[in-house]
């Protein structure tokens, strides 16, 4: 039986797809058979972040509507044989997804994979609700910024009331906080919410802290999930996050300002990698 993890946030643009791609890749690199599904029907982007946009033939909606088989629609990752991508449809609207259809797909995938990562669309509408409905665990991606924190709290409300686990009175979805785009310099200046404040307000366990990093845009430009950039701060922070998702106890990094040596400051150019 696979573990189903939804990557969600409520607010758009906080790093859901970046995080889903990095986490799925990280899990696969650690030897887990992993599939990552794009639930953002109509606005698919996971394929771009994963660098497989030109290999998309069929998609999730095709599978649900019986126009293609799962095997035909899944794209095998170029870099990791343990990793598959199930893209979203670009043309249909969100109503093309049905609860029964999604359940069938997840059940079928469950037999073959260790982890199923669901990349949720923004918002709290149908698409987002379908992405989280069958989840066992949730990674709530949050920026240190008021609207993102508030929307994350809204999503926590949905996770605890509108999921299958909630409706069947089973053990609730395990909620993890993933703080992204964290800038310790601005936190020090008092102009950015600090990690402890966010944890206190949302009151869920922290699974990772991803610093604001130039590596993230570089990675998405190239279609290579940032976790492959293991020299970058963001890549390492995602690797730590994956370890924690797998139940390991890893110390938290990148919470405070990284001091750079004189040489690095003179020749380092762009700064944080």
């Amino acid at each position: 039986m696979a573990k189903i993890i939804v990557v969600t946030s409520g607010k758009g643009g906080v790093g859901k797809t970046t995080s889903a791609a990095a986490i799925a890749t990280g899990l696969a690199l650690r030897g887990n058979k992993t599939v990552v599904i794009d639930f953002d029907v109509g606005l698919r982007n996971l394929d771009l972040i994963m660098g497989c946009e030109r290999r998309v033939v069929y998609d999730l909606v095709n599978v649900i509507q019986g126009e293609a088989g799962l095997k035909q629609a899944m794209i095998r990752d170029k870099r990791s044989e343990n990793l598959h991508i199930l893209p979203a449809s670009q043309t249909r609207d969100k109503d093309a997804l049905t609860l029964e259809g999604v359940e069938k797909v997840l059940m079928d995938l469950s037999e073959e994979f260790d982890y199923i990562i669901c990349d949720s669309p923004a918002g709290i509408e149908r698409g987002a609700q379908l992405a989280l409905y069958f989840a066992d665990e949730a990674v709530v991606v949050t920026n240190p910024e008021v609207s993102s924190v508030r929307d994350s709290d809204r999503i926590l409300g949905l996770l605890s009331s509108k999921s299958r686990r909630a409706e069947q009175n089973r053990e609730p979805i395990k909620e993890h906080l993933l703080v992204t785009r964290y800038n310790p310099n601005r936190v020090d200046d008092g102009d950015m919410l600090n990690l402890d404040d966010i944890r206190e307000i949302l009151a869920i366990d922290l699974v990772g802290l991803i610093p604001e990093s130039e590596a993230v845009l570089r990675a998405s430009n190239q279609g290579v999930p940032v976790i492959h950039d293991d020299k970058s701060d963001a890549g390492q922070a995602y690797a730590d996050t994956v370890s924690r998702l797998m139940g390991e106890d890893v110390p938290l990094r990148f919470q405070s300002v990284q001091k750079r040596g004189l040489i690095a400051r003179m020749f380092g150019g762009g700064g944080r990698r």
């Binding site: 910024e145 008021v146 924190v149 508030r150 709290d153 809204r154 409300g157 605890s160 009331s161 936190v187 200046d189 008092g190 102009d191 950015m192 919410l193 600090n194 404040d197 307000i201 949302l202």
Partner: protein
């Protein structure tokens, strides 16, 4: 920059303002969490009925639904104004 802030009398840091605002709005959101979809409408209509008889403010009414194992309690709190301010019927 920090010295300048200090000399100007230490304006409040924006992050702590953000935290205070979030604590209030999140507490409010959680109060409404898990309640049925009809609650805001019910609240508005109850308020409208009460206002036909008593002059109360928009925020003088507080409604909540608590569920125990096998029974739910709808609790309605209305802060009434002093006597003599009631609307004549």
């Amino acid at each position: 920059m920090r010295l300048l802030d200090f000399l100007k009398g230490e304006r409040k840091k924006s992050a702590s303002v953000a935290k205070e605002r979030l604590q209030i709005i999140v507490a409010h959101q959680r109060g409404h969490r898990g309640q049925p979809d009809y609650m805001p409408m019910l609240e508005q209509e109850l308020l409208a009925v009460i206002r036909r008889y008593v002059k109360v403010d928009q925020d003088a009414i507080n409604i909540s639904l608590d569920s125990d194992n096998d029974c739910s309690v709808l609790e309605l709190n209305v802060t009434l104004p002093n006597e003599g301010e009631t609307v004549k019927g």
